[in-house]
Subunit: 291 residues, 2 copies
């Protein structure tokens, strides 16, 4: 039995991802208050995994997750899980019986509200919008005030967790909305996949214009596909960046260590943040053309 820590509160998409990644019922699931809390607890070791969001197809990177993996913890990424974001309109039984027309206020995280803008304009043009700190917090507030004409936007799981009815859904405007999660831990992830990635943190040498091009050359001539390149500040001033690069091969692949050695020979610092199997729920098989 493993302990699976995830970014809480309970009933968010991160819990959906945690339960998809660890479908066996006997695991212990614990919601923690912040991304640093999850990463630090997973770093401490034992039969403990952490699940945190890393990237959304609309909002982009979760920089807090990247920066903690870069600067504050040393815990390997052991799996990737991609989840479609499917927002639903959730309400207490009384409001649900009255129907959509009865909803006077819609509560959710600003990102979730933004993701359902077209739906809200069409179906609830007069509703007042209230922002909350998470989709689960919105569901909790709606459940706590069952007599108010309120609805929350959130995952179907939040309806289960807080005893709400699903009024409508999925209601997000884009079918392409997906979030990528990392599973981190000191023990290997218990399942295999045909797809694997290696995430490298590469820091270019000072005073070497063109170094990034040379780094990409080391991958390109080996036909190693990159699925993502993300720059994050080193903290040493504007213009100084770490590059987080996802290679679409496991570290055990014969070509990857050669590319790393070549990049190090250029004077770059290279840290392997993880080499891990990749999974997706539902229809979210990731694009694999690469950069």
């Amino acid at each position: 039995m493993a302990t699976v820590l995830y970014l809480g509160p309970s009933g968010t998409f991160t819990e959906v991802a945690a339960r998809a990644a660890f479908p066996e019922r006997h695991h212990r699931f614990v919601a923690l208050a912040s991304v640093p809390d999850v990463l630090e607890a997973a770093e401490a070791g034992g039969d403990v995994y952490g699940v945190v969001p890393v990237e959304n197809s609309i909002e982009g990177s979760v920089t807090l997750t990247l920066d903690w993996l870069i600067h504050h913890v040393h815990v390997p990424i052991v799996a990737e899980w991609v989840l479609p974001v499917r927002q639903h309109l959730l309400a207490a039984e009384r409001t649900a019986r009255l129907g959509l027309g009865a909803v006077e206020a819609v509560l959710s995280h600003p990102h979730a509200i933004a993701q359902c803008r077209a739906y809200l304009r069409q179906h609830l043009p007069g509703a007042c919008i209230r922002h909350t700190s998470s989709t689960a917090e919105a569901a909790r507030l709606v459940a706590e005030h069952p007599d108010r004409p309120w609805a929350a936007i959130g995952p179907r799981l939040a309806a289960e967790r807080y005893g709400l009815a699903v009024l409508a859904g999925p209601i997000q405007d884009s079918a392409h909305n997906a979030t990528r999660f990392f599973v981190v831990g000191q023990l290997p992830y218990p399942r295999q996949s045909e797809r694997a990635k290696t995430t490298l943190l590469i820091t270019l040498p000072h005073d070497y214009p063109g170094a990034l091009y040379q780094v990409l050359a080391a991958f390109a001539w080996r036909k190693l596909n990159l699925t993502r390149i993300e720059s994050r500040p080193t903290g040493k001033g504007l213009g100084s960046y770490h590059f987080m690069i996802d290679v679409e091969r496991p570290l055990g692949d014969v070509l990857v260590p050669g590319a790393i050695a070549e990049i190090q020979a250029l004077g770059c610092a290279v840290r392997v943040l993880g080499s891990y199997p990749c999974f997706a729920s539902g229809d979210e098989a990731e694009r694999t053309a690469g950069l």
Copy 2:
């Protein structure tokens, strides 16, 4: 007389940047509530400029600014201004007379608090921390309650704006903390600089692994220095990105249009977000080694 719109409230680092970029006293300075408000008003044209933060050396990109420039407005970047972030501890006269030992609560934006963590631990280990929506909001709250033993963390300008005394400063932990601002507008920026950049938005073709490497090659063989490369989601699913690339040359340089034409011939979409002079206040001459 130009109208200079900046991300408010009054007394933040963005106002400091706006006044540095337009030092003539006769301009009209107006604080707006959000980055989209500033960009949309500047897009409308006339003798109007907008000033918004785009990147901090510790926090990274201001993704709201990038995403609005990419997806929602068409207004050119006409200047870059880099400003050192110098945090100060600000208090009402009464608290200032009693000295540091009297401060029981410190108010500021979470980023400003984080930037002064070492100072607070050493000098105010017992003070309670309260987060506010901006450094200026913290200064306003402190000024409104002059009898409370409170201090705000913010720029020196906030002391002027809200009638506070400077108890200590600069107090931020890192000397490398700087923020980069864009000036946008439909008219050219009125001053020249020896340094210039061109910011390009490049979208790679589908199903062409290695395209990013080819894009960088077009710059590398011309020895066109890149100072930044940032990926932002296109909104079409995970793995699909725009790349915002800063080239350290003006668009009028003989080599830049050739590079753009070559990149377009690869099947990439290229949009010029601006070609602009670069300025820095104080000691923040930017690193120029390039990527």
